[in-house]
Symmetry: C2
Subunit: 384 residues, 2 copies
């Protein structure tokens, strides 16, 4: 399953010793072709980790033979030596595969600001290369976890018999334009790199980009789409984009469900917007209100905090035409109190907050979580 659901891919996940606790921490995903067309989307953070700088260069060529991913260290803010480490990592993968380092993508996740233990990374690559198999998708997904409590995997079958598979990690620092999130999506359809690139951007924009658990954007976010062409199927583009989007949406949903310390998965559904941009802006502002996220944690349908968060945006709306529903109860109508807030049932894990801007026909949904004492605890102690 996972990245090895499509034909033409093998993978492995091993314990290289990068993590102190002996858990799996290095994954290798190899495209056996015949095609190696690929596309990538990366963090918009201007402070980019070494593996992001490296992989952006690789993806410019539109071809990826293999992806090596490690948890246990982000290799971010590590200067020129950190970039050399990424380069050496790619060279090592190229060596064991008898290929070119220029077509090896590298992803890292973990603490920022510390060098990787390169002896362990390099021996881990040798170990992983020896374990590459069609069953390697699950161990690979396991190896990229940091504070993730579960592996995230997904796959969909497309018309004509091709597959799209994927894995992802990311539990904190999930925000605008990706997250501390790594994801590799694979397919055995046969499509050129420029088509994969358009498809991936469209899919990410409405899935991973609409997850915002804590407003923090990572230095390492990377989503890759690799095509082996092993089925020879050339799918209809809309259908293919729909399948890739489904896989991304499924993985994004799993990320939200597993967000650090969260007890609620909150969908902020903005409707009646003058534009999709307005809807996303409003959804993101509401998703970032610590006060609202605390209220939902306390199962308090505090719609005033929703309006306060809407009010700081530049979206088109009139304050006295705003309507807000929480789990289906319209607690705010026309900018003032609406139906009885005691009717709102906030006990379920899934919470939907609907905001009607009464300004147009557009809509968008942003996915976030509540803010909990456990989030504080996990992130107070992460590096110790």
């Amino acid at each position: 399953m996972s990245v090895t659901a499509p034909l033409g891919f093998v993978a492995a996940g091993v314990a290289a010793g990068i993590k102190a606790n002996g858990a799996r921490d290095l994954a290798l995903v190899v495209n056996e072709g015949p095609s190696r067309a690929a596309a990538g989307v990366f963090t918009r953070n201007r402070v980019k980790a070494a593996p992001v700088l490296w992989s952006q260069q690789v993806l410019r060529g539109g071809r990826v033979k293999a992806v090596v991913l490690n948890s246990g260290g982000a290799n971010a803010c590590t200067g020129p030596l950190g970039f050399q480490d990424t380069h050496a990592t790619a060279e090592k993968v190229a060596e064991v595969l008898g290929d070119s380092a220029g077509e090896i993508a590298v992803c890292s996740t973990g603490l920022i600001g510390e060098r990787l233990p390169m002896d362990k990374v390099l021996s881990g690559i040798e170990l992983a290369a020896g374990q590459l198999s069609r069953d390697g998708g699950l161990p690979a997904a396991d190896a990229i976890r940091t504070t993730d409590t579960v592996s995230k995997i997904s796959f969909r079958r497309g018309e004509g018999g091709y597959m799209v598979g994927g894995m992802a990690k990311g539990a904190g620092m999930l925000a605008p334009g990706l997250a501390t999130m790594l994801s590799v999506i694979t397919t055995d359809a046969d499509l050129p790199a420029d088509v994969l690139d358009r498809t991936l951007r469209q899919a990410v924009e409405v899935t991973f980009d609409r997850v915002d658990t804590d407003g923090c954007m990572s230095t390492n976010d990377t989503v890759l789409l690799l095509a082996s062409g092993a089925t020879g199927v050339v799918p209809d583009l809309d259908e293919f984009t729909a399948k890739v989007t489904e896989v991304c949406a499924d993985l994004a949903r799993q990320l939200v469900m597993d967000a650090e310390g969260a007890t609620k998965a909150i969908a902020i559904e903005v409707i009646g917007a003058a534009s999709v941009r307005d809807a996303v802006t409003v959804g993101r502002s509401v998703a970032r209100s610590n006060l609202l996220k605390c209220a939902i944690h306390g199962e308090d349908p505090n719609w005033g905090r929703v309006l306060a968060a809407v009010g700081v945006t530049d979206a088109e709306f009139e304050p006295d035409r705003l309507n807000v529903a929480i789990n289906g109860i319209w607690v705010c109508r026309g900018g003032a109190a609406g139906d009885d807030r005691s009717k709102v049932d906030l006990r379920p894990r899934d919470v939907t907050i609907t905001i009607d801007l009464s300004a147009g026909p557009h809509s968008a949904t942003i996915h976030t979580t509540d803010l909990t004492a456990e989030y504080v605890h996990e992130n107070s102690a992460y590096s110790t």
Copy 2:
């Protein structure tokens, strides 16, 4: 002291019964003249509470006879009826003072979305009017508290014998451009409304506007500056602005110290910026990183989270020229690890994070707090 430190002002703070717990909840500050020049700065949130809409209109005239402030309810998102309540409140104050409602400012703070118990507000105004005195500054400062654990007051003596006094409240929702913050500043200097307006804007911009405890901007933020002219002193403008700024800075510092659930007062000092705007933008982005605020709570000098927050801004900088010091130890130099992070002592309550953008001569400091389980607790339970 507080707002009655300057001559020409009387005040009162009473328990009107708006708060269920019987604490003081209504304050009245009256300017006995001879001048009643005044200026105001209000929330930039587009969802504005009724008292903000009202007081903005009053301040357009540049004259304020009295300010009535209540805690226990924000009168925000209450529709046309809420605005009528504010109007009736001003009319009642005008009636008891034998003055015009058009020169009565109104401030409210508390829960959003619920109407005020107007019978209690109106009888409270009568009660307060009977207790107006030169000693009323402290009870007034007490009456405007919500989750504030202490009253916030300040005063400074100016050259030539005039005074500047002030009170403030605000413990959560402290953010961009003010906070759920109310503040009344008074002076017995003699200056016209347009001068007060310029002075207040300058003072607020570098004090209250640079406090950002949780990134949430309230619907009710109001800072008023009232001048009685009772000393007849016409101060030097720069000196006057400096005194008003000192009072605002002192009050802002007290707000940060008392922020909900905080255990650390964090100064984000941005230096080497290409512009003051860049410095403020970077400071605010860092102040809003939940991940960093959790790390500081855990006394973890996690400078990687500082760089991640700098990286999402559009400020002028090169990633490999960023330097970061935490409590004086330069843990990040040139965008990579610098001095040994184990040298950083994060045990004191006051924490200074210095960010050198290496891009110019400008600087600014943003004040914030750590993120704690207590913040989550207070804000999960606020309305219950």
